[in-house]
C-alpha cells in the first residue's frame, strides 16, 4: 500500500478512528495495531507477513534468552546467534544473487565452473530496516540498556506500519516506552503532523517523481542521448530526487505516527547544507548513521584504538553501510568513497590537533621550565605532566560557501555510483559530462530547473520559518484546516504524475 493513494487514505481513516477508540484499552489496541500493520504490509505480498511474525517471535526468544543467561560467554554466544540469524535472513533475501553470481564469475575467471543453484529470491520490502530494528532491540537487551518487552509489544514495534517499509529506523528504546501507557488523545501535535504529511507528498509527487521522469531516468540509462549540460543536471537532479523521495517517506511516516500519538526520530536535517562529509552524515538518514555509529563503529573500537584503527573502522562502517543499501559492487564503492572522504576529513582534523598539541605542549614545557628555573633549589625536581588544554578548529574545511559546494559536488558524484546498475554504466554517465557541450539539450526545461532549485532551496530555509508556519496553521479552525488540505490535495493531483511511483528506498 503506497502512501499517496486513495486506498491508503481510506485505510488510515479507519485505523485512526479504531486506534483512538481502542487506545484506552491496551489489551485491545495492541492486537488491533498489530493486525492493521500486518494488513498494510500484506497488501504488497501477504506471504511475507509470516516473515515478520517469525522475526518477532525468534528475536523475542533471543532477547529473553540473553536476559536470563546473565553475564558470561553464553550470553555472548546467544547475541552472536541472534546477529547471525538476522543477517543470515537478510543475506538470503537481499544478497543471495549478488554473492552467488560474484562467486561463479570469480571462479570462472580462474577456469573453474562453479555450478551453484541460482534461485529466484523475491526481496521483501523493508527487510533491511526490519533487520536493523530487531537488532537494536536484541543488542540493547544484551547491553542491559533495555529490558525485554512482552511479545505483543515487541511485535507492535517490529511491524508498526508507518515506518515498516522505509524507516526511520526507530530504536526499540525509543518506541517501546511509548507503548507503556496509552497515548493522550487531547494533546496531538496536529499542525506539525499535517505539515510533514503534506510537505512529504509535495516532495515526492511534485519534485522527486517529476525529476525522475523528465530527466534523471533518461540520463542514467541512456546517457548517450543527452548533452553534457543535461547530464550534469541529471546528476544534480538525482541528488535532489533521492532526497525528496526518501525524506518524503520519512516525513509522512513521522506525520502519520504523530496523528496516532507516537513520536518517531527525525531522519533528515537539510543534508545538502552540510559543510563536510561528517556533517552530511549527521544530517542524511540520521537514524541509519547513528545505528551504524552505535552498533558497528563503536563496537569495532571507534576512535579509541589509535589513528589507523579509527580510519579502518570508518572504512569498514561505510562500506558495510553501502552494502546495506543494495547488493552490488557500485554500492560497495559508494560506501568506499564515503569511507575515504571521512578518513581524509579525520586526517585533516587530526593533523590540526597534533599541531596544536605540539605547540601547546612546547609552550607549557617552556613555561614550566622557566618556572622551575626561577625556583631556588628546584634543580632535579620532577614535574608531573599535565594534559594541556588545546584549542584548534575541529571543522574539516574552512569557510561557509565553498565547503557546502564541495560537499554537494562530492555527494552528487557518489550518487552516480549509487544510482547506476554497474560501474560501466556509472562511468558512461560521468564520461558524458565531457563529451557534448555544444548544445543545451531539450531536457533542460524551466520545470526541471525549478524542481532542482526548490529541492535544494528548501533546505536553506531556516527551521524557524517552517515552525512559525506550523504554529500559525495550528491556530486555524479544524474545519478550515480540512478545507486547506483538500485544496492542497487537488493541486497535488493536478500537478503530480498520473500514477503513484514506489519510493526509492522500498528497494533497500
Amino acid at each position: 500500500m503506497l502512501f499517496p493513494t486513495i486506498t491508503f487514505a481510506v485505510f488510515f481513516l479507519l485505523v485512526f478512528v479504531g486506534s483512538w477508540l481502542l487506545m484506552p484499552r491496551p489489551g485491545l489496541w495492541k492486537p488491533f495495531m498489530l493486525g492493521v500493520s500486518l494488513l498494510f504490509y500484506g497488501w504488497w505480498e501477504w506471504r511475507f507477513v509470516l516473515l515478520l511474525a517469525l522475526s518477532a517471535v525468534v528475536n523475542q526468544g533471543f532477547a529473553l534468552l540473553i536476559e536470563r543467561l546473565g553475564p558470561g560467554a553464553g550470553r555472548k554466544w546467544a547475541l552472536a546467534a541472534a546477529v547471525a540469524a538476522n543477517l543470515g535472513v537478510l543475506g538470503w533475501f537481499k544478497y543471495y544473487g549478488f554473492f552467488v553470481t560474484s562467486f561463479v564469475n570469480f571462479a570462472a575467471a580462474f577456469g573453474f565452473n562453479a555450478d551453484l543453484p541460482l534461485l529466484r529470491v523475491v526481496l521483501p520490502i523493508g527487510i533491511s530496516f526490519l533487520t536493523f530494528r530487531v537488532l537494536s532491540y536484541v543488542i540493547d537487551v544484551y547491553r542491559g540498556t533495555l529490558r525485554t518487552a512482552s511479545l505483543l509489544d515487541f511485535a507492535v514495534y517490529v511491524t508498526f506500519f508507518p515506518y515498516i517499509a522505509a524507516g526511520p529506523i526507530a530504536r526499540a528504546a525509543e518506541f517501546l516506552p511509548q507503548l507503556a501507557a496509552p497515548r493522550d488523545p487531547r494533546r496531538l501535535d496536529t499542525s506539525r503532523a499535517f505539515f510533514l504529511i503534506f510537505s512529504g507528498l509535495v516532495k515526492k509527487m511534485l519534485i522527486a517523481d517529476y525529476l525522475a521522469t523528465h530527466l534523471v531516468n533518461g540520463v542514467f540509462t541512456t546517457p548517450g542521448q543527452y548533452t553534457s549540460l543535461e547530464t550534469l543536471l541529471g546528476i544534480i537532479g538525482y541528488s535532489v530526487q533521492i532526497f525528496c523521495d526518501f525524506s518524503a517517506y520519512a516525513d509522512i511516516a513521522i506525520g502519520i505516527s504523530l496523528l496516532l500519538g507516537f513520536e518517531l526520530p527525525e531522519n533528515f536535517n537539510a543534508p545538502y547544507t552540510a559543510t563536510s562529509v561528517q556533517d552530511f552524515w549527521r544530517r542524511w538518514h540520521m537514524t541509519l548513521s547513528r545505528w551504524l555509529r552505535d552498533y558497528l563503529y563503536i563496537p569495532l573500537g571507534g576512535n579509541r584504538k589509535g589513528r589507523l584503527r579509527t580510519y579502518l573502522n570508518l572504512m569498514v562502517t561505510m562500506v558495510l553501510g553501502g552494502l546495506w543499501h543494495g547488493a552490488g559492487w557500485p554500492f560497495v564503492f559508494w560506501g568506499f568513497l564515503y569511507g575515504g572522504a571521512l578518513i581524509v576529513e579525520h586526517r585533516r582534523v587530526d593533523a590540526r590537533r597534533e599541531r596544536a598539541l605540539s605547540v601547546s605542549v612546547g609552550r607549557e614545557r617552556r613555561a614550566i621550565l622557566a618556572a622551575c628555573d626561577s625556583l631556588p633549589g628546584a634543580a632535579g625536581a620532577t614535574v608531573a605532566p599535565v594534559a594541556p588544554a588545546i584549542a584548534y578548529d575541529k571543522r574539516p574545511w574552512h569557510g561557509g560557501v565553498w565547503p557546502r559546494i564541495g560537499v554537494f559536488a562530492f555527494v552528487s558524484l557518489a550518487w552516480v555510483f549509487f544510482r547506476s546498475a554497474t560501474f560501466a554504466a556509472a562511468l558512461d554517465v560521468l564520461a558524458r559530462l565531457f563529451q557534448s557541450w555544444g548544445s543545451i539539450g531539450a531536457a533542460v526545461t524551466p520545470g526541471v530547473l525549478l524542481a532542482i532549485a526548490v529541492g535544494i532551496g528548501v533546505q536553506y530555509v531556516p527551521r524557524s520559518i517552517w515552525e512559525r508556519g506550523q504554529a500559525g496553521f495550528s491556530l486555524v479552525h479544524p474545519v478550515l484546516q480540512g478545507v486547506v488540505l483538500a485544496f492542497g490535495f487537488v493541486l497535488l493531483d493536478v500537478l503530480g504524475p498520473t500514477g503513484p511511483a514506489a519510493f526509492i528506498y522500498f528497494g533497500f
Binding site: V104, A108, V122, R186, A421, A425, A486, V490, D493, G507
Partner: protein
Amino acid sequence: MAEPEREARPADGRRRRSAASVLVVILVAFVLGALLNAPAMKRTALELPYGGERSFRLALLNPLAAMSHWFFLDRPAKLTAAALDRPDPGPAGDDVVVVVTPSPRPPKKPHAGDANRPLPAPLKGHPMHLYIAGDSMMGLPGMALVNLSRKTRLIKPKLDYRISSGLCRPDFFNWPAQLQQQVKKFNPGAVALMFGANDNQALQTSSGDVYQFESDGWKKEYRRRVRDAILLLLDGGVRRVYWIGLPVMPGATYNRQVKVLNEIYRAEAATHPEVRYIDAYALLSTDGGAYTQYLRDADGDMQQVRETDGEHLTYAGGMRIADAVVHAIKQEWLARRSPAKGGSSREGSGGAKSTH
C-alpha cells in the same frame, strides 16, 4: 476520543489539538477532497480492468462526480489544469469516455511488394530512425536498444514506453493514435514494439461488447488490434517492424497467458513480410524453455536478467533483447551498406539515403 477536549499551546507555539479535532480535519479534507477531485478519481476507476472492482468503484464515483459537477466543485481542478497546461483531470459528471482509435486504411496489396523493395542504406549523416515503443516491459530493453543502436552511428533511436499501457485499453493510453502521431513526427524507418504485459485483461470492442481474456471474441479482437497497429505503421512508411514477444514469466498462470499473447503476435507477424518476430521467450529462458533469474552472457559471465519482481527485465536482460533486435536490423539494413557512401535520393523511411 470520548475524553473532554483540552487544547493547549506549549512553548513551541503550536497549539495541540484533540483526536476529535483531527478527525474533523481528516473528514473535511476527505469529503471535500473527494468532491473536488471526483473527475480524477473517476478517471482512475475507468482505467481499471473490466470487472467487479471497476463496476463497484464506478457505482460509487458516478454520483459523486455528478454531484461535484452540479455544485461546480470540479471546476477548480479543471481550471487549474487548463491554466497550467496539464491534462484534464477526468470526465465530469456522467460523461462517458469515448476513445477514438485511428484505423489503418484497408490492407493494400502493394505491402507485399514493399517488403521486397531494397531497404535504404543508412549513412552517418542520415541515420535510419528507429522508434521503440511499448509498456513497462520495454523500459530497460528499450534503453539497452537505444544505447546499442546508437553505437552503430547509423541508427537514430527514440524510446517511448508507457507504464501500465497496452493494446487492450486505449482509454488508458491510446497506442494506435500515438503510433500514428510518431510515424508522422519521427518518420521512422523501423519500429520495435513490445506489448502485452498488461493485456491479460478483458477488452471492449467499439460496439461496446466486453470480452474476457482468452475468449474467442477476445482473441479475434486483440489480433485485429495487433494487425491494425502493424498496418498503421506500414501505411505511414515504416519499412520494418520488429515485434518483440513477451519473455517467460515466473508464475504458471501468467506464463500461460504470455504464451497466448505470444502466439497471437507470432501468427500475425507471420502474415506480414515486413514484420520480424523477436522471440524474447526463448532469449530469456533456459535451454529447456524454463524460467530463470540468471543467464550467462556471451563472455560466459553469469548475469541477473530479471528484476527482483521476477517479471521485469534488468538492463542485462534487456541487452539480450536489444542484441537480437540490432542483429536483425544489421542483417537487413546495414549488411549491404556501400562503403562508397551511396547516392543522394532521400527515401521516406527515416531520412536514410538509399544507395540504390
